[in-house]
Each structure stands twice: as C-alpha cells, then as structure tokens.
C-alpha cells in the first residue's frame, strides 16, 4: 500500500509534533503492547518488563530513533531500513504478527497524546506508514 503525498505530509507533521517525545512514546507503546498482548513478552525474557523499566525506556529510544530515520526516508524505506531488516530476519526473527501489535499500540499512544491532530486521515496515513515499515522489516525473512 503506497504512501500518497498526503500520507507523507501527515506522517512528517505527526512525527515533527512528537519531537523529543519519540523515545517516551515508543516506550509507552512497548509497555502497552506487553500488557495487552503478553505473548510479545516472549521476545524479551532478558528484560525487566515492569512499569518504568529502564530497559524498556532504552529500547523505546532505539526503536524511536529508527522510526525517526524512517520518517526522514519515506521515499526509500527499504534502503533506509536495510540493516534493521537484516537484523530482524537473521538474528531477532520476531514473528511477523507482532509488528501489527506494536503498530496498533503506537497508534493508541499517538492518539492519546495528540487527540486533536489524530484525525481519521492522519490515522489512516500513520497506519499505512507503520504497515510499510513492518513489511520492510520482515521482507528478508524468507
């Protein structure tokens, strides 16, 4: 599902408003995901997943930075995310279903923090963007 020019504008505007909160928002999304979808915890047996965990915060920062990269390269996600794509395919091997779960929790987080900006059109654009990122990250799985 290709991102239109409007989608790209919406994604960039949202992420610009997120600004320095990217790490916090992603950490919150991860926490939401671990609570709502406990099966996702199986990928983090080495983490403390309790509320306020430093490890989850750090992971939020890592993933947040990757998303910021992605937002800056909407015209060429496969290239921008190539290394992460390799990592997920060969080392992490997170089952593809989990990308939908994290994407959903990212949308929940964004809508709760930006209720006015999170219009149906912005919601649609972000959903498409996250879906594209997920597709790229799982593209080398087999």
């Amino acid at each position: 599902m290709v991102l239109s020019d409007n989608d790209k504008t919406n994604v960039k505007a949202t992420w610009s408003k997120v600004g320095d909160h990217a790490s916090d928002y992603v950490a919150e999304a991860l926490e939401r995901m671990f609570f709502s979808f406990p099966t996702t915890k199986t990928y983090f047996p080495h983490f403390d997943l309790g509320h306020g965990s430093g490890q989850v915060k750090a992971h939020g920062k890592k993933v947040g930075e990757a998303l910021t990269q992605a937002v800056g390269h909407l015209d060429d996600l496969p290239s921008a995310l190539s290394a992460l794509s390799d990592l997920h395919a060969h080392k992490l091997r997170v089952d593809p279903v989990n990308f939908k779960l994290l994407s959903h929790c990212l949308l929940v987080t964004l809508s709760s923090h930006q209720p006015t900006e999170f219009t149906p059109e912005v919601h649609a654009s972000l959903d498409k963007f996250l879906s594209n990122v997920s597709t790229v990250l799982t593209s080398k799985y087999r």
Binding site: E28, E31, R32, F35, S36, F37, H51, H104, L107, V108, T109, S111, S112, H113, P115, F118, P120, E121, H123, A124, D127
Partner: protein, 147 residues
C-alpha cells in the same frame, strides 16, 4: 468467554459509563471506513462514501455507528456469556450480511484507538489491556456461529 479479573471488569464498566455512545460509535465506524477503505464494500447503500469528508458527514454511517456501539455496550453487561449474547447477531452477520469476521477485529482495533483518543491519560495500559480482551471476545462471539 473473556477472562477478565474483577478489577478489569470494573475498569471496563467505569470507563464505559463515561462514553457518549452516539459520538464514539459514529467516530469508530467512520474511522473504520476511512482507515480501511475496503470495508466500504458493506455499505454501498449508505450513499456517498467516496472521500473521508463524505464518510465523516454521512448521516447513515453515524447512525449505524451508534447502533453498533449500543449493541457492543449491551455485550459489556454480559461479559461472562458473550457467545450467547451475540448468537443471533453472529448468525445475521454470516447468513444475511456476509461479513468476514476479520472486520470485527479491525473495528475492535479502531474502537480501542478511539477510546484512547477520547480518554487520553485515563486510558492507561491496564485499561487498554482490559478493553483488548473485550474487543477480542466480542469479535470471537460474533464469529462463533459462522459456518
């Protein structure tokens, strides 16, 4: 059946008490049609759904959204017997409406996002987790009589 603790049931009911079913129902259904445009296939008789603007102002969409969320709200009073509560609706959606149950999951996801948008901080991770169980339970109940 959903496995909700007593605390989760309380969280679900408390939040629902603050929900304007007409407003949120209309928003949830219209967002479904905008975010997942292929879902418009079930509503061709609702008139103009050609753009997001058209969807968001379509009176039939808003009315139907209210109807759907009212029914969902009824389900919240019977969390121990969702399959029984939604049995007739399940048959209807299969035999008459021919709706792929995947659409119930999509609407459930949209509803959770709409709740988050309206309730902000109050929609904490544990409230969300309780609602994720409920929407999954309702989707499963609505799919239960499919054949």
């Amino acid at each position: 059946m959903v496995n909700l603790t007593a605390a989760e049931k309380t969280q679900v009911t408390n939040l629902w008490g603050k929900v304007n079913v007409k407003e949120l129902g209309g928003e949830a259904l219209s967002r479904l049609l905008v975010v997942y445009p292929w879902t418009r296939r079930f509503f061709e008789h609702f008139g103009d759904l050609s753009t997001a603007e058209a969807v968001l102002h379509n009176a039939k969409v808003l009315a139907h959204g209210e109807k759907v969320l009212t029914s969902f709200g009824e389900g919240l009073k019977h969390l121990d017997n969702l399959k029984g509560t939604f049995a007739d609706l399940s048959e209807l959606h299969c035999d008459k409406l021919h709706v792929d149950p995947e659409n119930f999951r999509l609407l459930g996801n949209v509803l959770v996002i709409v709740l988050a948008r309206h309730f902000g901080k109050e929609f904490t991770p544990d409230v969300q987790a309780a609602y994720e169980k409920v929407v999954a339970g309702v989707a499963n109940a609505l799919a239960h009589k499919y054949h």
